[in-house]
Symmetry: D2
Subunit: 382 residues, 4 copies
């Protein structure tokens, strides 16, 4: 059994909850879940025990009522879970969402204690962070982080940074908890947080769930690298119509996304091939089904020039939600094994920007096999 | 050092010869050569010591004069190698090529002896088979094969089958030779030939060099498999303007190609997703730069339907020619190690239809690493 | 008012019936209907008064019951129309459909009289031919056609050829009828039929409804022609999963399709640019939503080489069904004006292979304007 | 005969000069020139009589020496034309180009007189403006424009605005001149300039030469409009590696481009379908051959949803240069006819943002025919 809290009851959080319950009820196949039902912890062992958001239209409603806006077939079992009030800090600046957070009524320190009490009651084990992409600044030291909390410095922290810290406190008290950071804010890549995690019996997976064009690009580049094809240029466009793309029209947020996406080029190829890899635009009617376009030109044998063009229509939220079904269970496994800090073997497959900081991207096809072995499963092809 | 004979001085054979000499002269980088210059046998150690063809416009000319039709910058060093007369048997039926083979003047048995004499003089070690795609029938037994030779049954054998047999005889006499079968005719996948190879000190690599859309599809399918995305359909089109595409307008030849291309689906996914994977057409102005189009539709988490479309313009002959630079050297390594028969580790990366018969396709990204290790190199990411 | 008979209650016929009734009921917008509701004959004036098929699973059922297999929201108003037995002749050879036709029980001459009686009762005015693509032979003369009927030569005629002849007899008796040939069999392009039509007060529109990649290619080629870009090659692939694509796996049927598709190249460009334009394959899971892929390479100013690649996912049957909503009304207009024979202005926009025989393809964007003017509407941009 | 001055000896200006001379010498075909050699003024009648730039590496050199950097086969006839010093004003701000303009040494008023003298000597008739894309502000009145000149207000004017004004003065003196504005700065769309032109015997063609994805999108949208397919969304990406794309990384310049590109949507469809149409990025290795990606989703009959994806590799400068061969000759024709002001029939085909201000985009396929008729040629298909 694994008890899961959703932080951010938006598109991804809702598809995760809805899809999970349908799989548990045997209504649909576990497509999009990389490890299927191969783990000892089964998909039916995942319990959603809590949900947090700050949108005034969501707080106080059931997950069922919220998820209805994102999925037209939501299981009734989600009627029992209430969306509780979390924190927003600066995370929704400039977005057309009316937000209210715990910090509007109490200090950050009090908010931590308030949340810890709720989490204890819920017997929470794994926290899935699927807040909106944030503009953020990493912390240079534990002291700076704790100072920001103590001084109630709401401008310094993002929601993700706050939650990760609060969960470290919770983990320390209850003897273990896992924080899965599915957005670009650096947590698994921030040594301050990884250090904190080790001391607090916390497991961190992160950063930025590897969906869509980026892991595909990683495997395509590996494919080219292995044939010694010299990549001349890479252009990758992404456009979508969900809140995440809307958030990325904000220049600062976009930068945080850009860096997690473009690090793959040098990591895989061994040289920094000229590239343009950015979330490109917001187009409302596309909804959650983004359009991606990728162009790669390279030199082959005898100086020949080849080109590849990849286009895709990809449902953004389900791609990430399916990974969360694994990550929840792998989080519990790491806790059982007391592998505190962060786990590269997991991050390397599931994350765009795998922590810890010094770690590199590797081809996903290989990362999958290594992750399986970490999880106690047999590799398929090694 | 490794002495190489080219069987079929067409587009691939010419680009191989021309590109190889340019790399040896330091004029171009070894792009398109998967193992770069990492092997103990260096690229400059490869000597082309002979070439065979049956086109009356090629036989008797130098490789330089032939290669000029395929490449506009051919090194002068190829002026010293003469294109000698080989066999055609049924391999050029219906093609607009005027062919003359040894078999037109002598029996097959005599042709074998004639060739063995020439090969001895050339001190040939590795034979690269880049004849035109053939319509063929496998042999059920060694007896049937040898009977066809003895009875001079020119209808029963293709050029490839004949050459492979002749080389086994040569290998036996001189104590080792390697046959690299870069076309779809089943040799490494024909137990009769693999058995023959083991007894004759012959190494076979094959079948059908893995270029273009097929290995890419293998890696894309592995990418989807690892995320448990359920593939609904795969459509793959190929169109080009070189002789190989012209040959494939012939229905029987096309079938031999089709089967080597579509086996990857079930091998990688574990189920036979509905697919249409065929060489599709001939369009002369495309020349050697084929156009490929690939459409894949799949189910992701929570029943979402996604689509990928891959288009490419790919120079066909250089893609294969670059692999031959490795295969020539790996052939010599296998001979040095006396690994007679066929070598799956090599075939799994370099071949569309990796022998032996019972072997399966695996993702190329993994096959590359295993092949490196077989070759005595360190893996990159394992 | 216009009374319409559907010949062939398959995918197109069913979507036509279902969509039309929904538009009439105000449930959906008339998207996909080129002339919207601009004509004097309104969309609500179209009455489906009969339907014919030969599939034993359809004959005797209501159009509602048949259409349910193709559309998941069929209006109840279609419950009142029965699918009657038509003729199949050779048209379903090799397809996995159990067929029974009038010709199995009576002579062709008797079948004609039987149908004319039914059509009189229905007060039929316009006949929409949406049978499966046929392999066919045109008639060299009126005599040959009438001899085949008289001698009950079922091998010589296709269903389309039979229906067109039967309708000419009906038109002569009742004083006018329109035959819309939406499939490749040459009718509007067969002088024998056009002559027959003129004498019989019949209007023919045809041949082969212009949907999907072909009219788009026509406009793209016009776009290139107008910039004097020299087209080097055109490759166009189509793959789908409906019965029409299944039918086209049959080589003879495919040929009839190929010629209607590729005539556009020379008609528009003025030279026969090398092209490969063929229905390419059948892939069942694609269903009615075909995948198209188009590659064009051309020379621009100063010898520069450019490339365009067009990919599409296009619902095949709705694209044609929408055109039939116009064609039904335009057929009535032609009848009112006594424009017997065939009408190039209509064919040039709506048909892949616009009749009469000597007529050419023109850019669709211009054909639309001319067709509007023929129909008594103002042009938009001329 | 027509005497042409090039304003901006960059990529487009160089390809125009080089390609034109090659056509005149009979070395290449006039591909990319929409009107071929059909006009009474032949291609060989075009004389380049002058060239202006501000790059210190170009001024004082011959067009031949400059063009060599853009084309590897430049005719020697261009050795006789010297690149003279023009003005830059704010047009090269933030670009990595060292510029020197006439305005650095003299007042704007003096620069005008200086240029007029040079132009008189050259007997200039037609001026082609192919400067780099500028950030600009239109003028509200003739007074404001003349005041900026008089007061030597170099911050208020762009190079294009200055040249257009200077040419109006030249036209008035010599009795006629034509200004072809191939960049986005509003001139033909600025009533102040059009009014000025009428009074000064000046012809203006503009604005922003219609190359690449925009005119293609116009024709695709017309194609959809004519079938009443309801467009849900349009995403169009462009990325290239020439100076123009580098200039567009500047936010203000990009805005000027964006508005000329996106006006086509409502003009053609009649409603403002949600769209993202922007120059997207700069990627140096792409050079002049840009990559475009276009995605359109629409509703067809019976509510069906279809998608089109267009990808292209298009040589940017030749596409525009070919149009200039026509525009030079059409400019002379307009002068001969004394059609001062701007000519919509010409602009509608050749320009992204056809002036005058109140004019709309129409499908290019129709615009071509109307332009032919304006030019005294027969239409092809009307």
């Amino acid at each position: 059994m694994v008890n899961v809290i959703i932080l951010g009851q938006g598109f991804v959080g809702s598809i995760f909850a809805s899809g999970l319950e349908k799989i548990k009820a045997g209504e649909i196949e576990p497509y999009g879940v990389p490890l299927r039902d191969e783990l000892q912890i089964k998909i039916k062992d995942i319990n959603i025990v809590g949900s947090y958001d700050v949108d005034v239209n969501k707080v106080g409603k059931s997950v069922y009522d919220v998820a209805k806006h994102y999925d037209n077939n939501v299981p009734e079992s989600l009627k029992d879970i209430e969306v509780k009030k979390g924190v927003h800090l600066n995370s929704l600046k400039n977005l057309p969402i009316k937000a209210e957070g715990l910090e509007d009524k109490m200090s950050l320190e009090d908010a931590i204690n308030h949340l810890i009490d709720e989490w204890k009651e819920a017997k929470a084990e794994v926290f899935i962070n699927v807040c909106t992409t944030e503009a953020f600044k990493t912390f240079n030291s534990r002291e700076e982080l704790e100072k920001a909390i103590k001084e109630n410095n709401k401008e310094r922290l993002t929601a993700t940074q706050f939650y990760a810290y609060a969960i470290s406190r919770y983990a320390k008290e209850v003897g273990g908890a896992c924080f899965i950071n599915a957005i670009p804010t650096l947590i698994a890549n921030d040594p301050t947080y990884v250090e904190l995690a080790k001391e607090s019996k916390m497991v961190i997976f992160g950063d930025d769930g590897a969906t869509g064009a980026t892991p595909l690009t990683a495997d395509l580049l590996a494919h080219l690298f292995q044939r010694n094809r010299y990549v001349l240029s890479i252009a990758q466009f992404n456009i979508g119509g969900n809140t995440d793309f809307l958030a990325l029209t904000d220049v600062d947020r976009n930068k945080s996304k850009e860096s997690t996406k473009s690090s793959i080029v040098e990591d895989i190829l061994g040289y920094n091939a000229p590239h343009f890899i950015k979330p490109t635009g917001y187009l409302e009617p596309l909804g959650d089904k983004k359009f991606i376009s990728l162009h790669i030109e390279y030199i082959s044998f005898n100086g020949a020039r080849d080109e590849l063009i990849v286009n895709g229509r990809i449902n953004d939220s389900p791609a990430l939600a399916g990974l969360l079904v694994d990550l929840s269970r792998l989080g519990k496994i790491a806790l059982d094994r007391k592998e505190y800090g962060t786990v590269y073997e997991v991050n390397a497959f599931y994350m765009k920007n795998p922590g810890p900081k010094e770690a590199k991207n590797i081809p996903r096809i290989i990362a999958y096999e290594k992750m399986r072995m970490w999880a106690g499963l047999k590799s398929i092809w090694l």
